[in-house]
Symmetry: C2
Subunit: 335 residues, 2 copies
Amino acid sequence: MGKATIADVAKYCQVSTATVSMVLTNKGRISDVTRAKVLKAVDDLGYIYNQAAANLRHKRSNLVGLLIPDITNPFYAELIAGLSHWLEENDSLLFLANAEENVARQDKFIESLISQNAGGLVLCPAKDTDVNFLNTVRGRGFPIVLAVRPVGEDQFDYVGTNNFMGLQAATEHLIKLGHRNIAFIGGLEGSQTRSHRLGGYMSKLLEHGISPQEKYIVSCGASRPEGAAATKKMLEQNPEITAVIGYQDIVAFGVMRAIKDMGLTVGKDIAVVGFDDVPEAIDTSPALTTISVSAQQIGRAAGEILLTRMKGSDKPIKSLIFPPKLVVRKSCGSC
Amino acid sequence: MGKATIADVAKYCQVSTATVSMVLTNKGRISDVTRAKVLKAVDDLGYIYNQAAANLRHKRSNLVGLLIPDITNPFYAELIAGLSHWLEENDSLLFLANAEENVARQDKFIESLISQNAGGLVLCPAKDTDVNFLNTVRGRGFPIVLAVRPVGEDQFDYVGTNNFMGLQAATEHLIKLGHRNIAFIGGLEGSQTRSHRLGGYMSKLLEHGISPQEKYIVSCGASRPEGAAATKKMLEQNPEITAVIGYQDIVAFGVMRAIKDMGLTVGKDIAVVGFDDVPEAIDTSPALTTISVSAQQIGRAAGEILLTRMKGSDKPIKSLIFPPKLVVRKSCGSC
DNA sequence: CTGAAAGCGCTTACAG
DNA sequence: CTGAAAGCGCTTACAG
């Protein structure tokens, strides 16, 4: 039968397409009787509004993109949940892509979004993202809100957490427990987020008269196996270490695994702290002490800002920083 | 400056829009010199192809929807990864929605997809999904591929695992280990998947001369806390139980937590088996014995089938069932 | 090999 | 309060 269009509806009830359109979008002044007639026709014909055609005409859209570096990291799953919930409340649809830390894929996704007439993007940028590219994209009237990972100094709206403070809290916790030789494992070289976390870690060490050791700091990808491998090497080379901070929970899980594999006990021989407070952090054994960040909250807030930009807001660029919180569990021993 | 259109490009290099279109889509016969001229203009003008307009004209699209019941369940995160990877390879874009087990949200999402000219949907149906609604949607030429959860007897293409066999394997494993009083915790009443799993569980018990006890079977939502609460109650009321099968890993994690909270030892006092083999199953303590299902594989396969349907394939409906696999770890003791 | 023109399904001034 | 008509950015027979 082919889908009914606005023209079919118009013909069916003997009005113009303009009238049908106005009824459908609740614009203009339409008499109740005409409105009823149109609505009935819509029903009879099983007409479905073609939002894509309307968007083309309008030159606006209710489509939003979200790009994340790794969907299997539960932190991002939470972020997606927060954003998608917000978008649903606002009748927007979500395009999702998983860049897997690959800038080429990221760029391709952004091009597709524009080509598809999406209205904007929440971007958790992949490593080595090119700010210039983002700038030209935005220059074409395509708003971008950064989340989780900042890029370019305050050139874009940004929602994230205070990484510096988070690591200060984690480090302080360990120092108070008597640790001096504290390793920092994870994060990708060159990441701003990592710099902030490292800054928090090192500044807190110094504050307590402990000089940061370069050999205690190592980067690795965001996965359990990489966390485990890095830990094994670190502990073998530096047996004096008594505590390790995992860059993310997901890495901290790998850290714990490595410690166990080496025949040591987490929370007794080696204390472990993570970052993110992912749901399963409470279920590891021992349960992971970590820095809690509400990924859902970040997702939702990024969505809020993006929608106002899509509606044309030209308020100054803003950064929204949610404070992180230390959650003490068992992985540093009982305190 | 406003975005350049095909008309701008055409004017810029003194050809018709038809020619530009043909160059862009690689159709028709275009001389090399004209092609080069057009391509240069595209470049000079920073022209971006408007896929949405093309889709409108074409009446087809490269947009695909995915609806899942709970994105924070890592099983679905894996499925998304598998599907999105496939779609990316095929230049399609993914609309994602999180129904949270709510049929109204699900229906709303489906309407939006159609309205947005999406080409089809991979659906992991929410509880109480109405098959009739799905049928009318498909009747309008909107292909749907079901994943993970079947609905309606073979009326739709379906990709999933063999739940019956999976639970047979899990149950057999426990029986061989000497367990007789085996609880089954989780799943939502009325779910077909649950029936299949229950069938596998009960049939295997009977096969070994053990009569299934209704009191050993209880449903609960897909979360750790619900799994824990159900387990606590179950074990208090039936202290003779020595093993429990969690409907999903996520529930099994709750089961383990409850067992520990009661002062018992997982794998010694009570054996635990899960279902899914989610990445963190290897990190719990003890590591979880579970039924492995490749969610990534399911996601990708569903995508493959959907794209062929979107291209017009009218092959008979098919069900693709991946065999599940028992993965023995430590949560049932050392065997 | 290339162009003129109609049309995808909607919206929006502009008349009346 | 309602209609005629142009146009959003593309594609596709049809001519030539």
